[in-house]
Symmetry: C2
Subunit: 274 residues, 2 copies
């Protein structure tokens, strides 16, 4: 097992409103602006109940990860690193009214949990993107920090994702919209990956590399594990699959990166390079 | 919105060990019995660290739902209903060592949270089925209690699921195993559905019906909602989809029922009646 560091930079630009060119986070929904109220159900926030621009307008970085405890620990770590004037006790869960996700704000950094799997992170991303849009945030970078299983790399390695791929090693995410399947790209910001890799050189404790990350719908049967309640393939078949994944450039497996890449890209992923 | 009550009875029978015919919970994994230790990672339990038969051997009912707080409230409700001798304070989270899921045991009843979406419940079910198998539980009934969106029914209605269907209205679940797609049946126990429906007649406060339940991978684009960060279909297209779903016998939408039905069935769903 390794820790993973799938990463994407999004400086999201509006396509259709007055914010074009200013790097504002945008949505792709023609119905949203005509709604009287937008309730972000799973975050326990809303446009009528909360002053979102005041609460979140200064956000520049969003870090997301599966576990609520880990994202709280990350928030406390950021609080220490940023040497903010308020006390550690002020780092409070903004979504305390719901047990679906937790969210902490530390200066310009948001730390949010997203649970496990594509559907769980997808609900959070819909509501997070709307939150950043309502708050008129601009030039926002979003990074997923999560645990993952390494393939052919030293345990404890950090993998910076340059491309999220599905179980068939394809850089795409299949989104079911009503009863249609739409294929979306999962390329990530290469310049940010390089930037993060350069940062890693200053931290000698963790072997760090850039590679592709495979995203599966399942932890056991989908990832070649032999210890689930169900296992219908042989040890050899499982190993062969992981070898083919390695040969396709994949260095770790997790369960959220494709939809993360697809949604951030759709809402204005700034392609800094190449 | 309605509350949903997708339900399945599983009196799981072993296929290959000495428990055949006794209604024991079973796994379908030839590698499991030869493992020195089975760690149930996401439940913070294991065969070497815990005496699973002693802790869980008497379990007869498992109730699962998305929200940790709700499953705790359900556990406290069961504690009151069963009039157990121990105090309410003894209803403690067995999985307190992890923040992935929570689990409470109230006499013969387990109450467990599973987060949101197919991948999240799938991890929990793999580890729960192994737990019940290691604990040598027999004649276990499992019921999912969750919130859902109703289609063409009164708000607050309870839908007892007779069949879980996918976004294309098909009673199947597509499981990706390595890079193969395997289709699994999602039929549920019809006798249990009738039993639950008969129970509902004693509770006049909630309109209750039996119907098909649609399971999607996404809360917004997949369910015809117009208030996500992304929405590429018209109001009319969305309504047309929901109408077609209603005509196919679907009465509510949620995000876990197909994999729940498929996995419980595979591990020995007792088909009490057609």
């Amino acid at each position: 097992m390794t820790s993973s560091f799938p990463a994407s930079s999004t400086s999201m630009r509006s396509e259709r409103d007055t914010y074009v060119g200013k790097g504002f986070v945008h949505v792709k929904n023609p119905y949203l602006d005509s709604m009287d109220e937008d309730v972000l159900y799973h975050l326990d926030l809303g446009t009528k109940t909360h002053n979102l621009p005041e609460m979140f307008g200064d956000v520049k970085f969003v870090c997301v990860g599966g576990s609520p405890n880990r994202m709280k620990a990350f928030a406390l770590f950021m609080h220490k690193e940023l040497r903010l004037e308020d006390s550690e006790e002020d780092v409070k869960d903004i979504c305390a009214g719901t047990d679906r996700y937790c969210m902490y704000k530390i200066g310009p950094v948001l730390s949010i949990s997203h649970g496990m799997g594509i559907p769980s992170i997808s609900i959070m991303l819909h509501e997070l993107i709307k939150l950043l849009y309502h708050a008129r945030c601009c030039d926002v970078t979003i990074i997923r920090i999560g645990t993952s299983g390494g393939i052919g790399i030293a345990p404890g390695s950090v993998v910076i994702t340059d491309r999220a791929v599905d179980s068939f090693f394809k850089p795409q995410f299949e989104q079911v919209i009503l009863d249609n399947v739409v294929t979306r790209s999962t390329e990530l910001d290469k310049e940010l990956a390089e930037e993060l890799f350069n940062c890693s050189k200053e931290i000698p404790d963790f072997p760090t590399l850039i590679g592709h990350t495979m995203c599966t719908y399942d932890f056991y049967e989908g990832q070649g594990r032999l210890d689930g309640a169900l296992c219908s393939f042989s040890r050899e078949k499982g190993l062969d699959y992981l070898k083919r994944a390695y040969n396709a450039g994949i260095r770790n497996i997790e369960m959220e990166s494709t939809v993360f890449a697809a949604m951030c890209r759709l809402c204005g992923l700034k392609e800094k390079s190449p």
